[in-house]
Structures are given as C-alpha cells and as structure tokens.
Subunit: 211 residues, 2 copies
DNA sequence: CTACTTTCCGGACAGGTGTCCAGTGAGGGA
DNA sequence: TCCCTCACTGGACACCTGTCCGGAAAGTAG
C-alpha cells in the first residue's frame, strides 16, 4: 500500500517540510483542486453505488467507472474499498452541526443531544449506514487511521457536551453504549430510530446516578 | 450458497413440519459422526491458523489443507471464511460455565458476573479474539444466523443473571455496553482486560440507580 | 512553443473467494 | 457378496481485490 494520499485535508499539512528518512507517516500534502474534485466524485459515486447495490455489491472498479476515473486512480486515493466507504461516513460526520447548547439541561440531556444526531445521521439510508458500519470495522491501516480520527471526534464531542465536571467513567460508559448502538443497528436487529431511543435510555441510566 | 449443512446441532429442529413455500430455512439435519469429526477438525485447524497468521492471513484453503480435507468440503459445512471463524467463537461461548450464583449480590455485581467472563473468554488470545470480532460483523446469511444465536444466548444469560425484577431498559443498556466493549476491544484501543474493567464500571453506572 | 512535472489511464498480474461438478472410495443394507 | 449411498476429492471457473508500471494528457513554467 503506497500511502494513499488522502490526508482528509486539514490545515497543518506540512507542504514541503518533513521529507526524508520517514517511510511511514506520509507527508500528507494537501490535495490540489483537481485532486479534491477527483476524490469528491469518487465519494459521490460510492454513495450512489452503495444506495443501489449495498455494501457487498459495491466494487471499487464500478465506483471508479461511475466517477469517470480509472481503477488505479481510485486506489491512489483510497487504499481499499473499506477506506473509501469509511471516508463517506467521515464526511457526513464532519458536516454535522454542533449539538444544541441548552445550558440548563441535565447531564443526560446533554449526552443525548450529542449522540442522538450521530446515530440518526444515516438513519434514513440503512443500506448506506450498514455499509459504513461494516467498512469501519476492518483492520486495514487506512481504515484504522480514519477510525481513530472518528473515535477522537466523537470523544471530543461528547466530552465537550458533558463539560469538565462529569465523572470520567461516565464518558467511557457512554462511548461503549454508543459503539454498541451503532454496531447493533448496523446489524439490522432494530432500526436506527429505535436504536437511538434505546441509546437515549441507556444514556439516562448511565448519567442518572451522577446528575 | 447451497445451505451449509452446519445447523450447529441442537434438539428442536422441526423434523417434517413447516414444509413448502419456504425456500430458505433449510431442513437442518444433524451431523453424522464422521461429519462432526470433519467440522471439528476444521474448527481446530482454523484456530491454529488464526493463532499463526491472524484473521487476514487465514485462508479457507489453508485451513482445509491443515484439517486434511479438500477445500470444497470445507465449503460444504461453512459458507464462508467468516462463518468458519464465527463458529470458533460460538463453540467457545458454549463451553463457558454459568455465572456464579451469588444470591446476595447487587444487581450490578450479577450483571458483571454474567458479562465479564464473556469478554475475558478470548482475552489471552488477542489475535483470535480480533478475528472473531471481525468475522461476526459480516453480512453473510450464515454469519447473520449464528450471530443471532449468539446474541440470544447472551441476552438470556444476562436476563437470567439479573432476574425477572430488573427494569427492561437496564438489560438493553447492558447489551449495548457489552457490544461496544467487544467491538472496541477488537479494534485494539484497549486490551480485553482493561475493557472488561471499563465494562464493569459501565455496568455499575447502569445498574446504580436501579439497585 | 517547448520542456517538465504531476496526474491519470489502461491493462496485466498474483492472489483469494465462493461455486460447480464429474468422479472416487469407504460403510451400511439387502 | 454385491451394490448403493453419501461424504469427500480435485480441479476448473468467474469474479474481486490490491499492486505495478509504461505511457498519454493536462497543468505549469521558461
């Protein structure tokens, strides 16, 4: 895997520095306009393909064809099929607004506000949601890296919602419940809506004693 | 997929009833002695292969070779690689003893007793554990079916441990936390031991208000 | 307009997956 | 004893994955 160049663009990507003697941890240069357009069309095509054929039916080659791009080009930016669909999820996450402030809310209410949107983010597109869940659980390094970003993002979102006063165990417990909810929903036992309710209930139990 | 004959033998498989108009849901006849030996050796070989090469390095053909069996034979019993390694986990689960009674214990203590063993079941073989986690999250019908069995098994174990008096939401929340713990541990953020501690903490929070 | 770099193409490649099927051989029943 | 069933064989198949590489094409100078 020759370091898929997709650093999920973010300020701070060293432009020309940090060369040499560091085979791993790629330079992660930013994407030029054309490159960004290419990965954008790849992501869009992946979403379309996912809607039509689901995760198992998705093929990197088909996504590339749909995006009007050669397969090898797709593999330039995404190290694997799973990396591609994880990126779909990650982009949706980042588009999510911050949880409503609600300063007077209880701890549980704040936790719910932070988590519920995330679960419902893809609720109306189960095929897409299940695909993302499946892809995110892979062991490829690219996916792993993105997953850690996502995990960190959620951790910060939750921590920020709870405020500094919350007991540390509460945060961990909520993250456990959140992960469980996403995975169980991805497996189709319950709809995402019902799972969001269940997660809400769990959050209230977890925060209950600490009010 | 021509119905892998592995019904994970269990009494109660309707013998001749419920026929017709149901192409799915195979007859699920039991395995003969020789068949059982074959699948047994396949499972053993899978474990060995998993220990040596991990999930990604495991090949159905290699497992078959190791078990002294033709690849096609392996596919007769297991519809996929993931089905095979999920079966590994399922067999270990079933070998687990019932949680210690402890009649005077708190709700949280009983929940922990029921869940902790399950998390620690494969704790000393991380490669194996991660493989099982990865395999179980697949969408193949065979895996799905086995997964539902496993989910039901855990549900009953938990429900039995908590007793009939426990609030229904508590059970759901614990299941969420358990799933989250297994998945997160499978991803290697924390060791299984530490994750078991975290799950314990979550269980106490969840049961705390309901004591 | 030319030279050079970066991006992308297209196609071949080595593996793995799951499927299929004609055929072999050992065990059980008549 | 013969035969027949059924588990298993072995190898070919279609398809997908991720990798590699020579060369076309698009941009950016000079």
């Amino acid at each position: 895997m020759p370091e898929p160049l997709l650093g999920t663009a973010e300020p701070g990507g060293v432009p020309g520095a940090a060369r040499e003697a560091v085979p791993e941890e790629a330079p992660r240069r930013r994407l030029t306009g054309r490159q960004a357009a290419t990965v954008g069309s790849l992501v869009e095509a992946a979403v379309a393909e996912l809607r039509e054929h689901g995760y198992d039916g998705l093929t990197v080659r088909n996504v590339a064809r749909r995006a009007g791009v050669a397969p090898a080009t797709a593999y330039t930016y995404f190290g694997s099929k799973d990396h591609l669909v994880t990126e779909v999820f990650w982009r949706r996450l980042r588009a999510l607004p911050d949880p409503a402030p609600g300063p007077g809310d209880s701890l549980a209410a704040r936790a719910v506000a932070a988590l519920r949107d995330v679960v419902l983010l893809v609720a109306d597109e189960p095929a897409l949601a299940r695909a993302c869940t499946a892809a995110m659980l892979t062991s490829e390094p690219d996916v792993r890296h993105l997953r850690e970003r996502i995990g960190g993002w959620i951790h910060r979102r939750l921590a920020h919602a709870l405020g500094p006063a919350a007991a540390p165990g509460v945060l961990g417990a909520l993250e456990l419940a959140y992960t469980g909810a996403m995975v169980q929903a991805g497996m189709g036992h319950l709809t995402y809506e019902r799972m969001a309710d269940r997660l809400t209930e769990a959050a209230e139990l977890i925060c209950g004693g600490t009010a």
